[in-house]
Symmetry: C2
Protein backbone atom coordinates (compact mmCIF):
# COMPACT_ATOMS: atom_id res chain seq x y z
CA UNK A 1 0.00 0.00 0.00
CA UNK A 2 2.98 2.32 -0.24
CA UNK A 3 4.94 3.64 -3.15
CA UNK A 4 8.64 3.10 -3.10
CA UNK A 5 10.76 4.63 -5.80
CA UNK A 6 13.99 3.22 -4.45
CA UNK A 7 14.22 0.32 -6.83
CA UNK A 8 12.45 1.50 -9.95
CA UNK A 9 13.66 0.06 -13.24
CA UNK A 10 14.04 2.81 -15.81
CA UNK A 11 12.96 2.17 -19.38
CA UNK A 12 14.26 3.97 -22.42
CA UNK A 13 13.15 7.51 -23.11
CA UNK A 14 10.74 6.89 -25.91
CA UNK A 15 10.57 3.21 -26.59
CA UNK A 16 9.84 1.98 -30.11
CA UNK A 17 7.57 -1.05 -29.93
CA UNK A 18 6.28 -2.53 -33.15
CA UNK A 19 7.17 0.79 -34.69
CA UNK A 20 4.98 2.66 -32.16
CA UNK A 21 6.48 5.32 -29.92
CA UNK A 22 5.56 5.18 -26.23
CA UNK A 23 5.85 7.53 -23.28
CA UNK A 24 8.98 7.17 -21.24
CA UNK A 25 8.16 5.33 -18.00
CA UNK A 26 9.54 3.43 -15.05
CA UNK A 27 8.05 0.33 -13.41
CA UNK A 28 7.20 0.39 -9.71
CA UNK A 29 7.34 -2.46 -7.17
CA UNK A 30 3.59 -3.04 -7.28
CA UNK A 31 3.08 -4.05 -10.91
CA UNK A 32 2.47 -0.47 -11.97
CA UNK A 33 4.13 2.15 -14.13
CA UNK A 34 5.08 5.75 -13.51
CA UNK A 35 5.48 8.54 -16.06
CA UNK A 36 7.27 11.72 -15.02
CA UNK A 37 6.59 14.31 -17.70
CA UNK A 38 9.33 16.91 -17.80
CA UNK A 39 9.45 18.50 -21.22
CA UNK A 40 6.63 20.30 -22.94
CA UNK A 41 4.83 18.50 -25.72
CA UNK A 42 2.04 19.28 -28.13
CA UNK A 43 -1.20 18.04 -26.48
CA UNK A 44 -2.21 16.10 -29.61
CA UNK A 45 1.17 14.37 -29.89
CA UNK A 46 1.03 13.62 -26.17
CA UNK A 47 -2.49 12.22 -26.46
CA UNK A 48 -1.42 9.85 -29.24
CA UNK A 49 1.60 8.65 -27.25
CA UNK A 50 -0.55 8.16 -24.15
CA UNK A 51 -3.15 6.09 -26.01
CA UNK A 52 -0.43 3.85 -27.47
CA UNK A 53 1.24 3.54 -24.07
CA UNK A 54 -2.00 2.63 -22.29
CA UNK A 55 -2.65 -0.09 -24.86
CA UNK A 56 0.91 -1.37 -24.34
CA UNK A 57 0.59 -1.40 -20.53
CA UNK A 58 -2.84 -3.02 -20.67
CA UNK A 59 -1.49 -5.85 -22.84
CA UNK A 60 1.32 -6.41 -20.34
CA UNK A 61 -1.04 -6.67 -17.36
CA UNK A 62 0.12 -3.47 -15.69
CA UNK A 63 -1.98 -2.26 -12.74
CA UNK A 64 -1.65 1.31 -11.45
CA UNK A 65 -0.50 3.90 -14.00
CA UNK A 66 0.83 7.13 -12.48
CA UNK A 67 1.37 10.31 -14.50
CA UNK A 68 3.08 13.30 -12.90
CA UNK A 69 2.56 16.61 -14.69
CA UNK A 70 4.52 19.68 -13.58
CA UNK A 71 2.35 22.79 -13.46
CA UNK A 72 4.11 24.12 -16.56
CA UNK A 73 2.46 21.25 -18.46
CA UNK A 74 -1.10 22.12 -17.34
CA UNK A 75 -2.09 22.00 -21.02
CA UNK A 76 -1.71 18.17 -20.89
CA UNK A 77 -4.11 17.58 -17.97
CA UNK A 78 -7.19 17.32 -20.18
CA UNK A 79 -5.65 14.60 -22.37
CA UNK A 80 -4.80 12.46 -19.32
CA UNK A 81 -8.29 12.84 -17.84
CA UNK A 82 -9.83 11.88 -21.20
CA UNK A 83 -7.93 8.58 -21.03
CA UNK A 84 -9.83 7.70 -17.84
CA UNK A 85 -7.34 8.92 -15.23
CA UNK A 86 -8.42 10.54 -11.97
CA UNK A 87 -6.55 13.03 -9.82
CA UNK A 88 -4.49 11.48 -7.05
CA UNK A 89 -2.91 14.49 -5.37
CA UNK A 90 -1.44 17.90 -6.14
CA UNK A 91 1.34 19.99 -4.69
CA UNK A 92 1.98 23.64 -5.66
CA UNK A 93 4.16 22.68 -8.63
CA UNK A 94 2.70 19.44 -9.92
CA UNK A 95 -0.39 17.30 -10.37
CA UNK A 96 -0.37 13.50 -10.01
CA UNK A 97 -2.96 11.52 -11.95
CA UNK A 98 -3.60 7.82 -11.68
CA UNK A 99 -5.47 5.07 -13.49
CA UNK A 100 -6.11 1.52 -12.26
CA UNK A 101 -6.18 -0.81 -15.28
CA UNK A 102 -7.31 -4.27 -13.98
CA UNK A 103 -10.88 -5.29 -13.25
CA UNK A 104 -9.89 -6.10 -9.67
CA UNK A 105 -10.36 -3.77 -6.69
CA UNK A 106 -8.14 -0.68 -6.82
CA UNK A 107 -5.40 -1.06 -4.18
CA UNK A 108 -3.78 2.28 -4.94
CA UNK A 109 -2.46 4.13 -1.89
CA UNK A 110 -4.60 7.00 -0.62
CA UNK A 111 -3.66 10.65 -0.65
CA UNK A 112 -2.42 12.33 2.53
CA UNK A 113 -5.46 12.59 4.80
CA UNK A 114 -4.46 14.73 7.79
CA UNK A 115 -3.26 18.16 8.61
CA UNK A 116 -1.26 18.28 11.85
CA UNK A 117 -1.32 21.10 14.36
CA UNK A 118 0.19 21.77 17.76
CA UNK A 119 -0.86 23.62 20.90
CA UNK A 120 1.90 24.66 23.31
CA UNK A 121 1.52 24.48 27.10
CA UNK A 122 4.50 26.56 28.25
CA UNK A 123 4.58 26.89 32.02
CA UNK A 124 7.16 28.60 34.24
CA UNK A 125 8.19 27.95 37.85
CA UNK A 126 5.55 30.36 39.14
CA UNK A 127 2.69 28.24 37.66
CA UNK A 128 2.21 30.85 34.95
CA UNK A 129 1.26 29.74 31.45
CA UNK A 130 2.21 31.57 28.26
CA UNK A 131 -1.00 32.74 26.52
CA UNK A 132 -1.93 34.81 23.47
CA UNK A 133 -4.82 36.67 21.87
CA UNK A 134 -4.98 36.30 18.08
CA UNK A 135 -5.61 39.04 15.50
CA UNK A 136 -7.61 36.77 13.16
CA UNK A 137 -9.88 33.78 13.40
CA UNK A 138 -13.00 33.18 15.40
CA UNK A 139 -11.61 34.33 18.78
CA UNK A 140 -10.51 37.72 17.38
CA UNK A 141 -11.62 40.57 19.66
CA UNK A 142 -13.20 38.15 22.16
CA UNK A 143 -10.62 38.79 24.90
CA UNK A 144 -10.04 35.04 25.13
CA UNK A 145 -6.52 33.94 26.16
CA UNK A 146 -5.38 30.86 24.27
CA UNK A 147 -2.37 28.59 24.23
CA UNK A 148 -0.09 29.35 21.25
CA UNK A 149 -1.08 27.08 18.35
CA UNK A 150 0.01 26.46 14.79
CA UNK A 151 0.12 24.10 11.84
CA UNK A 152 3.24 22.04 11.31
CA UNK A 153 5.18 22.67 8.13
CA UNK A 154 5.77 20.09 5.42
CA UNK A 155 8.32 17.59 6.76
CA UNK A 156 8.57 19.21 10.19
CA UNK A 157 8.74 17.28 13.46
CA UNK A 158 5.93 17.83 15.96
CA UNK A 159 8.37 18.89 18.69
CA UNK A 160 10.22 21.29 16.37
CA UNK A 161 6.94 22.85 15.27
CA UNK A 162 5.84 23.48 18.86
CA UNK A 163 9.13 25.21 19.75
CA UNK A 164 9.04 27.22 16.49
CA UNK A 165 5.46 28.43 16.91
CA UNK A 166 6.08 29.64 20.48
CA UNK A 167 9.21 31.46 19.37
CA UNK A 168 7.44 33.03 16.37
CA UNK A 169 4.35 34.14 18.26
CA UNK A 170 5.91 35.27 21.55
CA UNK A 171 9.72 35.34 21.19
CA UNK A 172 10.05 32.90 24.09
CA UNK A 173 12.70 30.15 23.81
CA UNK A 174 11.47 26.72 24.87
CA UNK A 175 12.40 23.08 25.03
CA UNK A 176 10.04 20.27 24.10
CA UNK A 177 9.23 18.00 27.05
CA UNK A 178 6.33 15.73 26.09
CA UNK A 179 3.01 15.34 24.30
CA UNK A 180 0.28 15.55 26.92
CA UNK A 181 -2.64 14.60 24.71
CA UNK A 182 -3.82 14.73 21.12
CA UNK A 183 -7.11 15.12 19.34
CA UNK A 184 -8.31 13.72 16.03
CA UNK A 185 -11.14 15.50 14.26
CA UNK A 186 -12.65 15.21 10.81
CA UNK A 187 -13.82 17.44 7.98
CA UNK A 188 -11.99 20.36 9.52
CA UNK A 189 -10.37 21.62 6.36
CA UNK A 190 -11.38 20.95 2.75
CA UNK A 191 -12.89 17.68 3.97
CA UNK A 192 -9.56 16.56 5.44
CA UNK A 193 -8.96 15.37 8.99
CA UNK A 194 -6.90 17.03 11.66
CA UNK A 195 -4.55 15.82 14.37
CA UNK A 196 -3.77 18.33 17.10
CA UNK A 197 -0.99 17.60 19.60
CA UNK A 198 -0.90 19.37 22.98
CA UNK A 199 2.79 19.72 23.87
CA UNK A 200 4.38 20.54 27.22
CA UNK A 201 7.31 22.92 26.73
CA UNK A 202 9.81 24.23 29.26
CA UNK A 203 10.65 27.92 28.86
CA UNK A 204 14.31 28.95 28.66
CA UNK A 205 13.57 32.67 28.29
CA UNK A 206 10.76 34.76 29.70
CA UNK A 207 10.68 38.15 27.97
CA UNK A 208 7.81 38.37 25.50
CA UNK A 209 8.34 39.86 22.04
CA UNK A 210 5.00 39.29 20.39
CA UNK A 211 4.59 38.86 16.66
CA UNK A 212 2.73 41.80 15.13
CA UNK A 213 0.69 40.25 12.35
CA UNK A 214 -0.99 37.27 14.00
CA UNK A 215 -0.81 38.06 17.73
CA UNK A 216 -2.75 40.90 19.37
CA UNK A 217 -1.43 40.34 22.91
CA UNK A 218 0.76 37.81 24.74
CA UNK A 219 1.47 37.36 28.45
CA UNK A 220 2.30 35.00 31.30
CA UNK A 221 -0.89 34.25 33.23
CA UNK A 222 -1.55 32.17 36.37
CA UNK A 223 -2.58 28.76 35.08
CA UNK A 224 -5.74 28.75 37.21
CA UNK A 225 -6.79 32.06 35.61
CA UNK A 226 -6.32 30.50 32.18
CA UNK A 227 -8.32 27.38 33.11
CA UNK A 228 -11.22 29.27 34.73
CA UNK A 229 -11.91 31.55 31.74
CA UNK A 230 -15.60 31.14 30.81
CA UNK A 231 -14.68 30.14 27.22
CA UNK A 232 -12.53 27.28 28.58
CA UNK A 233 -15.14 26.13 31.07
CA UNK A 234 -17.92 26.22 28.49
CA UNK A 235 -16.04 24.30 25.80
CA UNK A 236 -15.80 20.54 26.33
CA UNK A 237 -12.54 20.19 24.45
CA UNK A 238 -10.82 23.28 25.89
CA UNK A 239 -11.84 22.25 29.42
CA UNK A 240 -10.56 18.73 28.87
CA UNK A 241 -7.22 20.02 27.61
CA UNK A 242 -6.98 22.40 30.59
CA UNK A 243 -7.73 19.45 32.92
CA UNK A 244 -4.87 17.49 31.34
CA UNK A 245 -2.50 20.46 31.73
CA UNK A 246 -3.47 20.86 35.40
CA UNK A 247 -3.08 17.12 35.97
CA UNK A 248 0.45 17.41 34.60
CA UNK A 249 1.26 20.12 37.12
CA UNK A 250 -0.49 18.60 40.12
CA UNK A 251 -0.28 14.82 39.70
CA UNK A 252 1.99 12.11 38.42
CA UNK A 253 0.52 12.50 34.90
CA UNK A 254 2.76 10.87 32.27
CA UNK A 255 2.50 12.00 28.67
CA UNK A 256 4.45 10.68 25.71
CA UNK A 257 8.12 11.60 25.48
CA UNK A 258 10.31 11.45 22.42
CA UNK A 259 12.62 8.54 21.74
CA UNK A 260 14.90 8.95 18.73
CA UNK A 261 15.08 5.91 16.49
CA UNK A 262 15.38 4.95 12.86
CA UNK A 263 12.77 3.50 10.53
CA UNK A 264 13.23 0.05 9.03
CA UNK A 265 14.71 1.74 5.95
CA UNK A 266 17.25 3.59 8.10
CA UNK A 267 15.74 7.08 8.14
CA UNK A 268 15.77 9.06 11.42
CA UNK A 269 12.43 8.98 13.16
CA UNK A 270 10.93 9.48 16.62
CA UNK A 271 8.75 7.24 18.70
CA UNK A 272 6.46 9.04 21.14
CA UNK A 273 5.69 6.84 24.13
CA UNK A 274 5.39 6.73 27.90
CA UNK A 275 9.04 6.09 28.59
CA UNK A 276 8.72 5.77 32.37
CA UNK A 277 8.64 2.00 32.33
CA UNK A 278 11.14 1.48 29.56
CA UNK A 279 14.84 0.95 29.88
CA UNK A 280 16.00 3.68 27.50
CA UNK A 281 16.23 7.37 28.21
CA UNK A 282 13.99 9.79 26.32
CA UNK A 283 15.37 12.90 24.69
CA UNK A 284 14.13 16.42 24.38
CA UNK A 285 17.06 17.62 22.32
CA UNK A 286 16.07 17.62 18.68
CA UNK B 1 -4.83 29.62 9.08
CA UNK B 2 -7.97 27.58 8.52
CA UNK B 3 -10.71 27.80 5.97
CA UNK B 4 -14.24 27.99 7.21
CA UNK B 5 -17.10 27.94 4.78
CA UNK B 6 -19.76 28.22 7.43
CA UNK B 7 -20.38 31.92 7.01
CA UNK B 8 -19.61 32.60 3.37
CA UNK B 9 -21.54 35.39 1.75
CA UNK B 10 -22.82 34.30 -1.62
CA UNK B 11 -22.67 36.72 -4.52
CA UNK B 12 -24.89 36.57 -7.58
CA UNK B 13 -24.29 33.95 -10.23
CA UNK B 14 -22.63 36.10 -12.82
CA UNK B 15 -22.37 39.61 -11.49
CA UNK B 16 -22.57 42.50 -13.94
CA UNK B 17 -20.10 45.22 -12.87
CA UNK B 18 -19.59 48.21 -15.11
CA UNK B 19 -21.12 46.07 -17.83
CA UNK B 20 -18.47 43.34 -17.34
CA UNK B 21 -19.48 39.81 -16.46
CA UNK B 22 -17.58 38.13 -13.62
CA UNK B 23 -17.26 34.58 -12.35
CA UNK B 24 -19.71 33.63 -9.65
CA UNK B 25 -17.92 33.63 -6.29
CA UNK B 26 -18.31 33.65 -2.52
CA UNK B 27 -16.21 35.58 -0.02
CA UNK B 28 -14.42 33.72 2.77
CA UNK B 29 -13.67 34.85 6.33
CA UNK B 30 -10.05 35.70 5.55
CA UNK B 31 -10.45 38.44 2.93
CA UNK B 32 -10.40 35.95 0.10
CA UNK B 33 -12.77 34.67 -2.56
CA UNK B 34 -13.80 31.21 -3.63
CA UNK B 35 -15.06 30.08 -7.03
CA UNK B 36 -16.73 26.68 -7.33
CA UNK B 37 -16.98 25.88 -11.02
CA UNK B 38 -19.84 23.51 -11.70
CA UNK B 39 -21.00 23.84 -15.26
CA UNK B 40 -18.86 23.38 -18.35
CA UNK B 41 -17.75 26.50 -20.19
CA UNK B 42 -15.77 27.24 -23.30
CA UNK B 43 -12.12 27.71 -22.20
CA UNK B 44 -11.85 31.04 -24.04
CA UNK B 45 -15.03 32.42 -22.49
CA UNK B 46 -13.85 31.18 -19.09
CA UNK B 47 -10.45 32.80 -19.55
CA UNK B 48 -12.04 36.18 -20.35
CA UNK B 49 -14.32 35.97 -17.29
CA UNK B 50 -11.39 34.95 -15.08
CA UNK B 51 -9.23 37.89 -16.24
CA UNK B 52 -12.06 40.35 -15.57
CA UNK B 53 -12.75 38.76 -12.18
CA UNK B 54 -9.08 38.88 -11.13
CA UNK B 55 -8.97 42.57 -12.02
CA UNK B 56 -12.15 43.15 -9.99
CA UNK B 57 -10.81 41.24 -6.93
CA UNK B 58 -7.43 42.97 -7.16
CA UNK B 59 -9.09 46.40 -7.10
CA UNK B 60 -11.08 45.40 -4.06
CA UNK B 61 -8.02 44.27 -2.10
CA UNK B 62 -8.91 40.58 -2.07
CA UNK B 63 -6.21 38.19 -0.82
CA UNK B 64 -6.44 34.47 -1.48
CA UNK B 65 -8.42 33.46 -4.57
CA UNK B 66 -9.53 29.82 -4.63
CA UNK B 67 -10.81 28.07 -7.75
CA UNK B 68 -12.26 24.57 -7.52
CA UNK B 69 -12.48 22.68 -10.80
CA UNK B 70 -14.31 19.33 -10.92
CA UNK B 71 -12.42 16.76 -13.00
CA UNK B 72 -15.05 17.07 -15.75
CA UNK B 73 -13.74 20.61 -16.30
CA UNK B 74 -10.08 19.56 -16.76
CA UNK B 75 -10.11 21.61 -19.95
CA UNK B 76 -10.15 24.80 -17.82
CA UNK B 77 -7.02 23.99 -15.77
CA UNK B 78 -4.64 25.57 -18.26
CA UNK B 79 -6.48 28.92 -18.26
CA UNK B 80 -6.32 29.14 -14.45
CA UNK B 81 -2.61 28.31 -14.35
CA UNK B 82 -1.95 30.96 -17.02
CA UNK B 83 -3.50 33.56 -14.70
CA UNK B 84 -0.75 32.83 -12.14
CA UNK B 85 -2.54 30.27 -9.98
CA UNK B 86 -0.76 27.30 -8.40
CA UNK B 87 -2.16 23.94 -7.42
CA UNK B 88 -3.31 23.71 -3.81
CA UNK B 89 -4.60 20.15 -3.54
CA UNK B 90 -6.46 17.53 -5.50
CA UNK B 91 -8.89 14.79 -4.67
CA UNK B 92 -10.06 12.10 -7.11
CA UNK B 93 -12.85 14.24 -8.49
CA UNK B 94 -11.56 17.80 -8.30
CA UNK B 95 -8.54 20.10 -8.40
CA UNK B 96 -8.20 23.18 -6.16
CA UNK B 97 -6.07 26.06 -7.44
CA UNK B 98 -5.10 29.14 -5.49
CA UNK B 99 -3.59 32.57 -6.08
CA UNK B 100 -2.38 35.03 -3.43
CA UNK B 101 -2.94 38.56 -4.75
CA UNK B 102 -1.27 40.96 -2.23
CA UNK B 103 2.45 41.72 -2.05
CA UNK B 104 2.48 40.51 1.56
CA UNK B 105 3.55 37.05 2.69
CA UNK B 106 1.19 34.31 1.60
CA UNK B 107 -0.73 33.08 4.68
CA UNK B 108 -2.74 30.48 2.78
CA UNK B 109 -3.33 27.26 4.70
CA UNK B 110 -1.17 24.33 3.72
CA UNK B 111 -2.33 21.14 2.09
CA UNK B 112 -2.82 17.98 4.17
CA UNK B 113 0.67 16.83 5.12
CA UNK B 114 0.33 13.42 6.74
CA UNK B 115 -0.87 9.97 5.98
CA UNK B 116 -1.95 8.09 9.11
CA UNK B 117 -1.46 4.39 9.73
CA UNK B 118 -2.07 1.99 12.58
CA UNK B 119 -0.39 -1.11 13.94
CA UNK B 120 -2.49 -3.41 16.12
CA UNK B 121 -1.13 -5.16 19.21
CA UNK B 122 -3.84 -7.75 19.89
CA UNK B 123 -2.96 -9.97 22.82
CA UNK B 124 -4.99 -12.75 24.45
CA UNK B 125 -5.03 -14.10 28.02
CA UNK B 126 -2.29 -16.63 27.18
CA UNK B 127 0.21 -13.85 26.30
CA UNK B 128 -0.22 -14.68 22.62
CA UNK B 129 -0.14 -11.87 20.06
CA UNK B 130 -1.99 -11.89 16.74
CA UNK B 131 0.56 -11.77 13.91
CA UNK B 132 0.50 -11.94 10.11
CA UNK B 133 2.74 -12.49 7.11
CA UNK B 134 1.93 -10.27 4.13
CA UNK B 135 1.68 -11.25 0.47
CA UNK B 136 3.16 -7.98 -0.81
CA UNK B 137 5.64 -5.35 0.32
CA UNK B 138 9.20 -5.65 1.45
CA UNK B 139 8.66 -8.43 3.99
CA UNK B 140 6.98 -10.71 1.44
CA UNK B 141 8.44 -14.22 1.55
CA UNK B 142 10.77 -13.32 4.42
CA UNK B 143 8.97 -15.45 7.01
CA UNK B 144 8.73 -12.38 9.25
CA UNK B 145 5.71 -12.23 11.58
CA UNK B 146 4.34 -8.70 11.90
CA UNK B 147 1.57 -6.96 13.77
CA UNK B 148 -1.44 -6.27 11.53
CA UNK B 149 -1.08 -2.78 10.05
CA UNK B 150 -3.01 -0.52 7.72
CA UNK B 151 -3.72 2.98 6.52
CA UNK B 152 -6.72 4.80 7.93
CA UNK B 153 -9.45 5.73 5.50
CA UNK B 154 -10.56 9.27 4.72
CA UNK B 155 -12.46 10.56 7.75
CA UNK B 156 -11.92 7.41 9.82
CA UNK B 157 -11.10 7.39 13.55
CA UNK B 158 -7.78 5.86 14.58
CA UNK B 159 -9.51 3.40 16.93
CA UNK B 160 -12.06 2.38 14.28
CA UNK B 161 -9.30 1.85 11.73
CA UNK B 162 -7.36 -0.44 14.08
CA UNK B 163 -10.41 -2.61 14.79
CA UNK B 164 -11.32 -2.68 11.06
CA UNK B 165 -7.84 -3.66 9.86
CA UNK B 166 -7.60 -6.56 12.34
CA UNK B 167 -11.04 -7.80 11.33
CA UNK B 168 -10.23 -7.51 7.61
CA UNK B 169 -6.83 -9.18 7.80
CA UNK B 170 -7.56 -11.93 10.34
CA UNK B 171 -11.32 -12.10 10.98
CA UNK B 172 -10.72 -11.49 14.70
CA UNK B 173 -13.15 -9.20 16.55
CA UNK B 174 -11.46 -6.70 18.83
CA UNK B 175 -12.04 -3.71 21.06
CA UNK B 176 -9.80 -0.65 21.10
CA UNK B 177 -8.09 -0.12 24.46
CA UNK B 178 -5.39 2.50 24.07
CA UNK B 179 -2.64 3.99 21.93
CA UNK B 180 0.65 2.68 23.30
CA UNK B 181 2.96 4.83 21.19
CA UNK B 182 3.17 6.61 17.86
CA UNK B 183 5.85 7.43 15.34
CA UNK B 184 6.22 10.39 13.02
CA UNK B 185 8.38 9.97 9.94
CA UNK B 186 8.95 12.07 6.84
CA UNK B 187 9.16 11.65 3.09
CA UNK B 188 7.58 8.26 3.35
CA UNK B 189 5.12 8.64 0.52
CA UNK B 190 5.21 11.14 -2.37
CA UNK B 191 7.21 13.44 -0.09
CA UNK B 192 4.48 13.41 2.55
CA UNK B 193 4.92 12.58 6.24
CA UNK B 194 3.51 9.66 8.11
CA UNK B 195 2.04 9.17 11.58
CA UNK B 196 1.82 5.56 12.75
CA UNK B 197 -0.16 4.74 15.90
CA UNK B 198 0.48 1.50 17.80
CA UNK B 199 -2.84 0.47 19.31
CA UNK B 200 -3.56 -2.05 22.07
CA UNK B 201 -6.68 -4.06 21.22
CA UNK B 202 -8.52 -6.66 23.28
CA UNK B 203 -9.71 -9.67 21.29
CA UNK B 204 -13.35 -10.74 21.56
CA UNK B 205 -13.00 -13.69 19.18
CA UNK B 206 -10.08 -15.99 18.54
CA UNK B 207 -10.70 -18.02 15.37
CA UNK B 208 -8.60 -16.76 12.50
CA UNK B 209 -10.11 -16.30 9.04
CA UNK B 210 -7.29 -14.73 7.11
CA UNK B 211 -7.82 -12.45 4.15
CA UNK B 212 -6.65 -14.08 0.91
CA UNK B 213 -5.27 -11.18 -1.10
CA UNK B 214 -3.02 -9.33 1.33
CA UNK B 215 -2.29 -11.90 4.05
CA UNK B 216 -0.19 -15.02 3.44
CA UNK B 217 -0.50 -16.42 6.98
CA UNK B 218 -1.95 -15.35 10.33
CA UNK B 219 -1.64 -16.93 13.78
CA UNK B 220 -1.55 -16.40 17.54
CA UNK B 221 2.09 -16.49 18.68
CA UNK B 222 3.69 -16.24 22.15
CA UNK B 223 4.57 -12.59 22.56
CA UNK B 224 8.17 -13.44 23.49
CA UNK B 225 8.54 -15.39 20.21
CA UNK B 226 7.31 -12.33 18.33
CA UNK B 227 9.69 -9.99 20.14
CA UNK B 228 12.76 -12.20 19.75
CA UNK B 229 12.50 -12.61 15.98
CA UNK B 230 15.85 -11.52 14.45
CA UNK B 231 14.09 -8.91 12.27
CA UNK B 232 12.58 -7.30 15.39
CA UNK B 233 15.83 -7.37 17.35
CA UNK B 234 17.83 -5.94 14.45
CA UNK B 235 15.45 -3.05 13.69
CA UNK B 236 15.63 -0.13 16.12
CA UNK B 237 12.02 0.90 15.59
CA UNK B 238 10.53 -2.61 15.65
CA UNK B 239 12.50 -3.46 18.81
CA UNK B 240 11.37 -0.24 20.47
CA UNK B 241 7.73 -0.95 19.65
CA UNK B 242 8.11 -4.53 20.95
CA UNK B 243 9.64 -3.12 24.17
CA UNK B 244 6.62 -0.84 24.59
CA UNK B 245 4.22 -3.76 24.02
CA UNK B 246 6.09 -5.90 26.58
CA UNK B 247 6.12 -2.99 29.06
CA UNK B 248 2.35 -2.81 28.70
CA UNK B 249 2.04 -6.50 29.60
CA UNK B 250 4.60 -6.57 32.39
CA UNK B 251 4.55 -3.12 34.02
CA UNK B 252 2.22 -0.33 34.93
CA UNK B 253 2.69 1.23 31.45
CA UNK B 254 -0.02 3.81 30.69
CA UNK B 255 -0.77 4.69 27.09
CA UNK B 256 -3.32 7.18 25.83
CA UNK B 257 -6.98 6.23 26.14
CA UNK B 258 -9.88 7.74 24.28
CA UNK B 259 -12.06 10.44 25.80
CA UNK B 260 -15.09 11.45 23.72
CA UNK B 261 -15.60 15.18 23.47
CA UNK B 262 -16.78 17.83 21.02
CA UNK B 263 -14.77 20.45 19.20
CA UNK B 264 -15.38 24.14 19.82
CA UNK B 265 -17.71 24.12 16.81
CA UNK B 266 -19.72 21.27 18.32
CA UNK B 267 -18.49 18.36 16.17
CA UNK B 268 -17.84 15.00 17.88
CA UNK B 269 -14.16 14.41 18.48
CA UNK B 270 -11.84 12.34 20.67
CA UNK B 271 -9.04 13.38 22.94
CA UNK B 272 -6.32 10.74 23.45
CA UNK B 273 -4.64 11.19 26.82
CA UNK B 274 -3.38 9.38 29.89
CA UNK B 275 -6.68 9.33 31.72
CA UNK B 276 -5.38 7.69 34.92
CA UNK B 277 -5.04 10.98 36.77
CA UNK B 278 -8.13 12.64 35.39
CA UNK B 279 -11.59 12.64 36.91
CA UNK B 280 -13.51 11.41 33.88
CA UNK B 281 -13.83 7.88 32.62
CA UNK B 282 -12.32 6.95 29.27
CA UNK B 283 -14.29 4.98 26.72
CA UNK B 284 -13.44 2.21 24.34
CA UNK B 285 -16.88 2.02 22.77
CA UNK B 286 -16.88 3.99 19.55
Amino acid sequence: MSISTSSLSVSKHVMPEDGVELLSSVEDLYGGVRVDMVESMDPKVFSTLLKASMSHWRQRGKKGIWIKLPIELANLVEAVVKEGFRYHHAEPDYLMLVCWIPDTIDTLPANASHRVGIGAFVVNDKREVLVVQETTGKFRGSGVWKLPTGVINEGEDIATAAVREVKEETGVETEFMEVLAYRQSHKSFFGKSDLFFVCLLKPHSFDIQKQDTEIEKAQWMPVEDYATQPFVQKSEIFKLIADVCLAKLDTDYAGFTLVPTTTSSGKPSYLFCNSRHLKFEPTSAI
